[in-house]
Amino acid sequence: MSTIALHDEHNHDHADHGHHKETLISKYIFSMDHKMIAKQFLVTGIIMAVIAMGLSILFRIQLAWPDKNFPFLETFLGKWAEGGRIKSDFYLALVTIHGTIMVFFVLTAGLSGTFSNLLIPLQIGARDMASPFLNMLSYWFFFTACVIMMSSFFIQTGPASGGWTVYPPLSALPTAIPGSGMGMTLWLISMVLFVASSLMGGINYVSTILNMRTKGMDLWKMPLTIWAFFLTAILGILSFPVLVAGVVLLVFDRSFGTSFYLSDIVMGTNILPNEGGSPILWQHLFWFLGHPEVYIVIMPALGISSEVISVNSRKPIFGYHAMVYSLIGITVLSFIVWGHHMFVTGMNPLLGGVFMITTLIIAVPSAVKTFNYLATLWRGNIRFTPAMLFAIGLVSFFISGGLTGIFLGNASLDINLHDTYFVVAHFHLVMGSAAIFGMLAGVYHWYPKMFGRMMNAKLGYLHFWLTFIAAYLVFFPLHFLGLDGVPRRYYAFTEFEFMKKWLTVNVFVTWAAIIAALAQVAFLFNFFYSIYKGKKAPQNPWESNTLEWTAPVEHLHGNWPGEIPTVYRWPYDYSKPGHDADFIPQTVPFSQTMSSNLPHDFEGNEEAEKIQQDWEIANPVTENKG
């Protein structure tokens, strides 16, 4: 009894200490609670995803029907679609902003921001992040970045249009194309805020994971989600600053007349004074971030899938250590492959060969992960929840998109494939669709933890199947366009004889894209409806082992009333032979599971092994156990 009294007293202390008076503003707006910040990231990410998807439908309409007029477009877009046809300048703005939003705002901030914030403290057993204040700041920087990026749609010259990689000179000369003006400036401001947000977030995640794990939670007892978030954050800390360096030089070229990236440029009849710089140097700095960035996008999704697949296969993840080491391998390798984006820049073929080898080596850890997913599924007692379907969908996209990576990583093949729709198809499968599916798996799986209610499973199945099939129908045909040499980022293919035959395929792809977009309505309805009307969630709806499910359904600042639970075992004790339930939470000590303990559980602790042996002698195994 005295213990309980102490707990209550502690609770009281903590409430006084943690949040004095919770007002509407401190709870919902400038919240410093990691769970609320996670929800803020998620909702903002979903809104940005819907916007970016809308943009893609607009340019898909242009690609499918380049000669047709759609009066409704003029209604929405005004002078950017005069006569109901999207202007070529605006088309470039659409693809640029679609890419920027999807890569940075949805799949970086929306994905890492949501799940790192939600799960790191809950799964390692901490009351909050190392610095809740920085965490709050991280969200508001991100939010401001989103607002500034979107504001570029409301200026005379339109948003940035040089592609999401903003290569100079289009990005460095404000008068180059309409989108190089104010739109590009806003893009740069937005990205600086975004990078600041990512760094504040990432630094917080790493510090929290390394310093604030609960008792017993050593690194090798962490769920794979945490490993993935941890390594993702490290990637961000080590690569985003390089983008800042590049952007600073770009800003000086744009605004102060320096020539870091510019040389020998003639605009119209006007010879520009800039001399001595090189646009290739931007590409180096950009892709030194840009390539790790694609792993920043995919690794959290891989971590989420590991967890979801293991829980719903009711089996330990296959090759836990191999999973971690392959994540580490991907992290390290991602820094020495950026040159494969630049094979056709006139790079020394020897250097190209080096980048080719490092690139192809990444296939090894990626394949290790894929096979481990398949081996986890193999003969599992599979529960096809919507989250599980999306996780399996990720594995499918990761394989089909990853295979074409081997083509593109090859320097000689890349000469043909560079800048074609083959590249578009490749990365939309391997990092676009795969990462989105990982994110959706996470949303369906941890929705009960976030909102205390369940999402509707039937709508989830509808959402999955429509999206899964439509995504393949959108991206698979694009490979063939690319093999035929159809270049990406072109406004229309009507001027080229050899590309005319692809018009019908473009019509097909656009219809598939529209279906995929409509399928998201099922998700959006499910998501927002279930916040208020969903079935109330039980404490541990998926019968999962990880720590977050030991925290009460009702959120409270500090996560656990009283003491933070202690961890005794790894998170993947599913269907352990000899145990009556098919899962053993991390908080259950081995002394309570004598019938299922294995010699290696004790990690060489001789005393514990002896106790176990004595117990086994006293309780001989019966035949039909397990």
Binding site: L6, H10, D13, R127, A130, N211, P241, F260, L281, E563
Partner: protein, 192 residues
């Protein structure tokens, strides 16, 4: 039970926050690594560096920032010995030296402009000497923020643990930007 309860009490734990400062140092190092690798690749591909004799003012600024690191160390030692007045004096002195450093940087740029090596020109390596030290100067401003917080902490009645914590993160950051400047200076000396 009571024992473990005490462990979970939310006492002030500086370790995770100190770690955050270290991680910031790492990311900032990477940024300057990005800058200097730009310079190396630029110089290698063009076959030329900035080609200047660096102004003497950079030597003086280097000496000033080294001196500021020393005064900050004395301030830390003073705090350890609970000599608050010496701590405050040394922090003030560090601020003065930091301003001196900034002043000297501007003097250096001024003398470069006089010789014709301006920010805008046909050699990006010379523009580099303006842009990158300017980015370093922004770090100095951030560092002044840290020093000010230590100073305010020393005047205000905060706990010794918090006072020490502020001094520690100030020291980590300030010594870092000191070393960072020395790195940049030596880099520019070696890669003419």
């Amino acid at each position: 039970m009571v024992l473990s309860m005490e462990n979970t009490q939310d006492i002030f734990d500086p370790k995770p926050k100190k770690f955050i400062v270290w991680l910031f140092v790492v990311s900032s190092t990477i940024m300057f690594g990005g800058f200097t690798s730009y310079y190396l690749v630029f110089a290698a591909s063009k076959g030329k560096g900035h080609g200047l004799v660096l102004p003497d003012a950079f030597i003086y600024s280097t000496l000033l920032i080294i001196a500021s690191s020393i005064t900050l160390t004395i301030a830390s030692v003073a705090l350890r010995k609970l000599n608050f007045s010496l701590q405050r004096k040394m922090l003030w002195l560090t601020i003065v030296l930091a301003f001196g450093f900034g002043f000297m940087q501007f003097m250096a740029w001024g003398s470069m402009v006089k010789t014709g090596a301006t920010l805008v020109g046909n050699n990006a390596a010379i523009s580099f000497i303006y842009v990158v030290p300017l980015m370093h100067l922004f770090h100095i401003i951030a560092g002044l923020g840290f020093i000010t917080s230590s100073l305010v902490g020393s005047y205000k009645n905060i706990t010794l643990a918090k006072n020490k914590f502020r001094m520690e993160i100030t020291s980590i950051f300030w010594h870092f930007i000191d070393i960072l400047w020395i790195y940049l200076y030596v880099f520019l000396l070696l890669n003419r």
